[in-house]
Subunit: 307 residues, 2 copies
Amino acid sequence: MSDANGQPYANGAAYVDGQYYPIGEAKISILDWGYRRSDVTYDVVGVWNGAFFRLDDHIRRFRASMNQLQLSPPESDEEIKQVLTKLIRLSGLRHSYVGMDCVRGTPPAGAPRHPKYARNYLVCHALPWIWIAPKEKIDAGLSLYIAGPRRIPPESFEPRVKNFHWGDLTRGQFEALEAGADFAVLLDEAGNVTEGAGFNIFCVTDGVVATPSRGGLDGITRMSVMELCQELGLPLGVRPVSAEEFRNADEIFGCTTAGGILPATCIDGRILGNGSPGPISSLIKDRFWNKRAEGWLATPIDYDSPL
Amino acid sequence: MSDANGQPYANGAAYVDGQYYPIGEAKISILDWGYRRSDVTYDVVGVWNGAFFRLDDHIRRFRASMNQLQLSPPESDEEIKQVLTKLIRLSGLRHSYVGMDCVRGTPPAGAPRHPKYARNYLVCHALPWIWIAPKEKIDAGLSLYIAGPRRIPPESFEPRVKNFHWGDLTRGQFEALEAGADFAVLLDEAGNVTEGAGFNIFCVTDGVVATPSRGGLDGITRMSVMELCQELGLPLGVRPVSAEEFRNADEIFGCTTAGGILPATCIDGRILGNGSPGPISSLIKDRFWNKRAEGWLATPIDYDSPL
């Protein structure tokens, strides 16, 4: 897993339960309930141009998610930041996709088979930057598809606790691909849009921006978009958005750590605008990346001091 | 991970993507979508007294689940049976909990980030027999609790495809433990019972047995119970069962591979009958284990010929 120069972490670095590994050697037991019961929460923070974006916000959300699932790894918030920083320094990556998971573990032999008795631990990794879709496709505009599976409802599992319960989204992705689209968007039981497969969603109608208030993740990039709307003086509604409103919107865009702002140019086969990213989507996208280039909410990484 | 006699498979054996491992060395990549998106289906078959129970039924269900998720490992059904048999022979276990998972894998570098492009593979394991609760507790009768989370609905993810989307059940287990019960049972959005955390459910009112028709797994042990009801001349309804009917039933029992028939003696704090397993539950449980002892639907394992 090392590159041609023998750098073992060139393809990515990982931290599993206190130890560092080249990414190809980072594994978990097939008996871990993080896998066997998807009893895990996670977060993903981006490193762009040698700096984390909104690191504190991600750590805060990650800790809130862990608390909600009664997951308690040995590392403090400060130590988690140190682990993530070390992963980046080991890999040397200037642009990186940095994941942090907390898994349940497995109750020890003899203890009751209840999650309460398991020792929880962290699984973190830094990979070369991942675009959710090829950059050219993001720039040209994505094609979205409202797929059949209903998003798992908050009454079953709280989507604000970032989780790997992706069965509905995965089914949706197969449907989207068959329909010739790039990504699925799922509805809730009331027929309102929730989120896409790996991103939050916004739409724009008559100059007013809207994003669903319920049924999806409270995304950090979504929060950034909300702040940019305020800064740009764009009216924003955080409220239920029906499938019909979404399908008939003037503009649609997604947002995620792994790609930033994602204008869509097609929804369920309908071409949006003239087939190019719309003006408000583009305005937000440009402002987002311009501010990022200026160091907006960035935590620079020191690559040079000895590890 | 070997026992005192140096037998490396004494604690269990595993098969991961074509290779055999002692259970402690059986791992999957932290990047595998089987973990990262819970994009996996599984099945569990029991080995009791040196023989699989209903092996063909489990393999049939496992294959149907894989087909529904568009998962396609290299092994044929016959080869899966050979793998499971070899795991038992390696371990030497006479009583074993045998799991078979098919995971999505990860799309290769350069391919689109879509599950379609991943190479799927099997992860199987054989462990010393697991009782879902201590045997004495199963014999004395379990305490059940109808917990708050709604079971993930079939519109989001089909529960007949056996899966690791356990977030709702795990929350329910924490609630059940807090309430002093052993296991959670979850309702659907209509207020009908679905299944417990790892088992199907039945109740008995005025001599009539009932089990939910929707919202849970089509369990193989459940199927066995349905056959036993017919054999014993017990009337059985497969239909929606409301929380109220369930709470007020004369008898309640669960069933699962990891424990067989599980009479309950308490539901939401109400003691059932006289606090001992009810007569119909006990009749079915006894008949189940008596038939098992007689070799009912058993596939004996040849432990002696050379591996």
